[in-house]
């Protein structure tokens, strides 16, 4: 209690800083989050520039049997080569693109669909709310990974279906988050005001309500991406995601697994890549949550 008192007093009375700026400053003061952000920035840049670093056809896909299974070395292949003589680093770099694109687009998909459903449920309430929420109840009662697996099972294993499956399995979570946020701001005065001057429902939701629920959505978005990276890797590991020879981290792990005994780097390195990315996203997510919602601190 004492601590709380002192903190309140110590905080400078700077009303001039906008809420967003303030959050940003708070985020920057969180070293873990900054480390996460730096890592992710590098990763995203790598993914974007993947084609400049390694040519997809000749270095990532093309097999080079004579140089198969070369261990990591500073001279030849930095991270070694896989069972078909392909440079592991090249495949990791292009794999990062695959992982990021799949996870990002699946989460965007989930946010778009789930967000819309959640916003509608929260804004209109009543029957619509009831229907949408019962639907999410059902979806939430299915373990997420399993749901994604079932969708892939039905549609067939490839990158597009994987994205769809992962997206679909995250829909209920966003629907819940957005609905909860909408409910809290729906009654706010400025929303009432907008409605009273006859703004359309869509406008009210998009212009007035959503911007004010952005905090929890950003946090959830980051954490969901981490989950999606995990699930992308998991499903590809099971052979239900990205199909070889296209590189994906989980897929690399799956094919490296055969050689785990004698060429363990093939299974260690892709796993490290997955783990550090998820770790970075978790750090950032935690940081964002602290920054955007100081009450939880």
């Amino acid at each position: 209690m004492m601590k709380h008192l002192f903190r309140r007093r110590a905080e400078p009375e700077e009303g001039s800083m906008s809420l967003l700026q303030e959050s940003w400053m708070r985020l920057l003061s969180n070293k873990g989050a900054v480390a996460g952000m730096v890592f992710l920035t590098i990763l995203v840049l790598t993914a974007i520039c993947a084609d400049l670093i390694y040519d997809y056809e000749t270095e990532v896909i093309m097999q080079d049997i004579p140089s198969r299974l070369q261990p990591p070395s500073l001279k030849g292949h930095l991270l070694g080569t896989d069972e078909y003589g392909r440079d592991l680093l090249a495949r990791l770099v292009h794999g990062s693109r695959m992982s990021l694109v799949v996870s990002f687009s699946s989460v965007v998909l989930a946010l778009a669909v789930g967000g819309t459903l959640g916003a509608m449920a929260g804004y209109f309430g009543g029957v619509i709310d009831n229907i949408i929420m019962r639907l999410t109840d059902v979806l939430l009662a299915i373990p997420m990974t399993l749901f994604a697996i079932v969708i892939v099972a039905a549609l067939g294993a490839n990158t597009t279906n994987l994205t769809l499956a992962l997206g679909a399995s995250s829909i209920p979570i966003f629907a819940r988050v957005v609905r909860a946020s909408v409910l809290t701001v729906r009654q706010a005065e400025y929303v009432e005001a907008a409605r009273s001057i006859g703004a359309k429902h869509g406008t009210v939701i998009l212009r007035h309500i959503l911007p004010n629920c952005i905090g929890p959505i950003i946090v959830q978005f980051t954490l969901r991406i981490a989950q999606a990276i995990y699930n992308t890797a998991a499903l590809s590991f099971l052979g239900m995601g990205v199909q070889p020879p296209a590189p994906e981290w989980g897929g690399l792990l799956a094919s490296g697994r055969t050689y785990i005994r004698d060429y363990s780097y093939l299974s260690i390195i892709p796993g490290l890549a997955i783990m550090s990315t998820i770790l970075a996203l978790n750090l950032l997510g935690d940081g964002l949550r602290d920054a955007l919602d100081p009450r939880l601190k």
């Binding site: 003061s29 969180n30 070293k31 873990g32 480390a35 896909i61 093309m62 097999q63 049997i65 069972e83 078909y84 067939g156 294993a157 490839n158 052979g239 239900m240 199909q243 070889p244 020879p245 296209a246 094919s255 697994r257 055969t258 050689y259 785990i260 005994r261 004698d262 363990s264 780097y265 260690i268 490290l272 550090s276 770790l279 750090l283």
Partner: protein, 512 residues
């Protein structure tokens, strides 16, 4: 300050973790763990790659299941593991009258696991039952009727003269089941009761199967020598090798090529390389232009370097095959088979007359080995200017596309037990199951003729003729014959592995 400490700790943990793990990876790779005491001598433990889909005789086409069927069941004539010829099993002789009526004399005193005595009525009941099972036509379709002349004589009438009958009787669909249980609607999947050398004791789904020697087995020479037989399901290749080295299993049914060197280095383990009739083939859809032109198919056939494939994609474990049929059957021939020759390939391409760069061959692949094969084909055909597209997909989609004819190229394999069954596949009536396969009236006529030729030599000559003709047409391209790797504890003896993929566990015994 504290946050910094924490961030540093994260980094440090990372470094440590990576360090430890990579340290481990370069750690001692010395003696394999052989701590387990040797298995008790009355038990044989076998590592299988996957669970058998079924233990019945009539509802599967799985190599693993047939292998287990062979433990619990017998047939009138069986396919000998070494010669791949039909030899007497429950019958001891047969005679053929007017080319369609086969009379089999049955062994007496044969007992089923449930105590029933085996008679001709069981044969009649089994075959009549098998004929009712959907999907059995391939194995029972030639049989018109079965009748029991007396308790130990059975007469089988075929629709028309049919040479393949003995082979057909050797297929799992015609393995003999006890009549009494068929009538009761017994679930042979749960309790596979037959006359075989082993009885099923228990089946722990997804984990293991336990068998026990059948004491009253009729064939004294092939009575099970090891009392307990246990199958453990180990899907991962490396894990199977480790289980063998650790003494957890005594026999590995399928060793991964990556583990051979290590297993060979182990003094307690022998690795067997089994040449098989499993023919891995590139099928082309003969209905799709320009693959309807034999010149194009032949050109492609000449341009594929099989040795590249075996070295590159198979760790060297494969046998080059150019003929449309597997080598090793009676009646197999290499005549007219297009061996690797780029000049010839160009010649045929010119004979076709089109522009090679307009040819696009997408190849469906169901696993990464096949992707590797297709990739090598891709670079081979690039030399002719033909474009190959590698299309990886999951097994279920692959299978659906293939059987629906929705493909241009597909890599698949087949391992029937004999050359007649093999060439039957070149008949156009098989196109309902394999759309896009060969469609040639001349070959159809030859296949029918071969089927009706009961005389062995004459039939084999006909088969050779078919094979050489089909080789000219090149409807599909054989890539290689698989070499299957088995491994066992050095004290295990009597091991027989057939070229069709089966193993007679009842003949295994422990040395000393």
């Amino acid at each position: 300050m504290y946050k910094w400490v924490r961030a540093m700790c994260v980094v440090l943990a990372f470094v440590l973790l990576v360090g430890t793990l990579s340290g481990c990876s370069q750690g001692t790779q010395g003696e394999p763990q052989g701590g387990e005491p040797p298995a008790p001598k009355d038990t044989l433990r076998v590592a299988l790659t996957s669970e058998p889909p079924s233990l019945t005789t009539c509802d599967h086409d799985s190599l693993i299941s047939v292998g287990l069927n062979l433990l619990t069941f017998n047939s009138l004539y069986k396919i000998d593991h070494a010669s791949l010829l039909p030899v007497p099993d429950l019958a001891y002789e047969y005679s053929v009258e007017n080319d369609t009526e086969w009379t089999f004399k049955l062994k007496e005193g044969v007992k089923f696991h449930n105590g029933d005595l085996f008679t001709a009525h069981d044969v009649v009941a089994t075959i009549e039952y098998a004929k009712t099972v959907p999907g059995s036509t391939l194995y029972t379709g030639s049989i018109k009727s079965v009748e029991a002349i007396d308790d130990y004589t059975v007469k089988i009438t075929t629709h028309k003269p049919y040479a393949g009958l003995l082979y057909d009787l050797g297929y799992h669909y015609n393995f003999i089941l006890p009549k009494s249980l068929i009538e009761k609607g017994h679930d042979f999947n749960m309790e596979p009761i037959g006359t075989g050398p082993y009885k099923l004791v228990s089946w722990d789904y997804g984990n293991s199967l336990k068998y026990e020697a059948f004491e009253d087995y009729f064939d004294a020479d092939h009575k099970a020598k090891i009392k307990n037989l246990e199958f453990v399901i180990i899907p991962e290749g490396a894990s199977r090798a480790i289980a063998l080295e650790a003494g957890e299993v005594d026999f590995v049914w399928e060793v991964s090529g990556a583990d051979v060197a290590r297993l060979n280095a182990n003094p307690n383990v022998n690795v067997l390389e089994v040449d098989t009739v499993d023919n891995v083939t590139l099928f082309m859809n003969n209905d799709v232009k320009p693959f309807d032109d034999p010149n194009v198919r032949r050109a492609i056939n000449y341009a594929i370097n099989r040795q590249d494939i075996i070295d590159g994609a198979l760790n060297g474990y494969g046998r080059v095959n150019y003929s449309v049929i597997s080598q090793g059957f009676w009646g197999s021939t290499n005549k007219n088979a297009p061996e690797y020759n780029l000049d010839k390939a160009r010649e045929y391409l010119n004979a076709w007359g089109g522009d090679p760069s307009t040819i696009n061959l997408p190849i469906l692949c169901s696993n990464e080995t096949r992707v590797a094969i297709a990739t090598i084909i891709q670079s081979n055909l690039a030399q002719l200017g033909i474009k190959v597209e590698v299309v990886p997909m999951d097994t279920a989609t692959y299978f659906a596309k293939w059987t629906a004819g929705d493909y241009v190229g597909v890599i698949a394999s087949w391992s029937p037990s004999n050359s007649l069954t093999y060439v039957q596949r070149f008949h156009s009536n098989r196109r309902n199951a394999y759309p896009g396969s060969l469609n040639s009236p001349e070959i159809d006529a030859l296949v029918l003729q071969a089927e009706g030729t009961i005389d062995n030599d004459a039939r084999l000559a006909l088969i050779e003729e078919i094979v050489s003709e089909v080789n000219l047409l090149s409807p599909q391209i054989s890539l290689y014959q698989s070499v299957w790797l088995r491994a066992h504890h050095k004290d295990l003896a009597g091991i027989v592995c057939s070229a069709t993929g089966y193993t007679a566990y009842n003949d295994f015994y422990w040395k000393k």
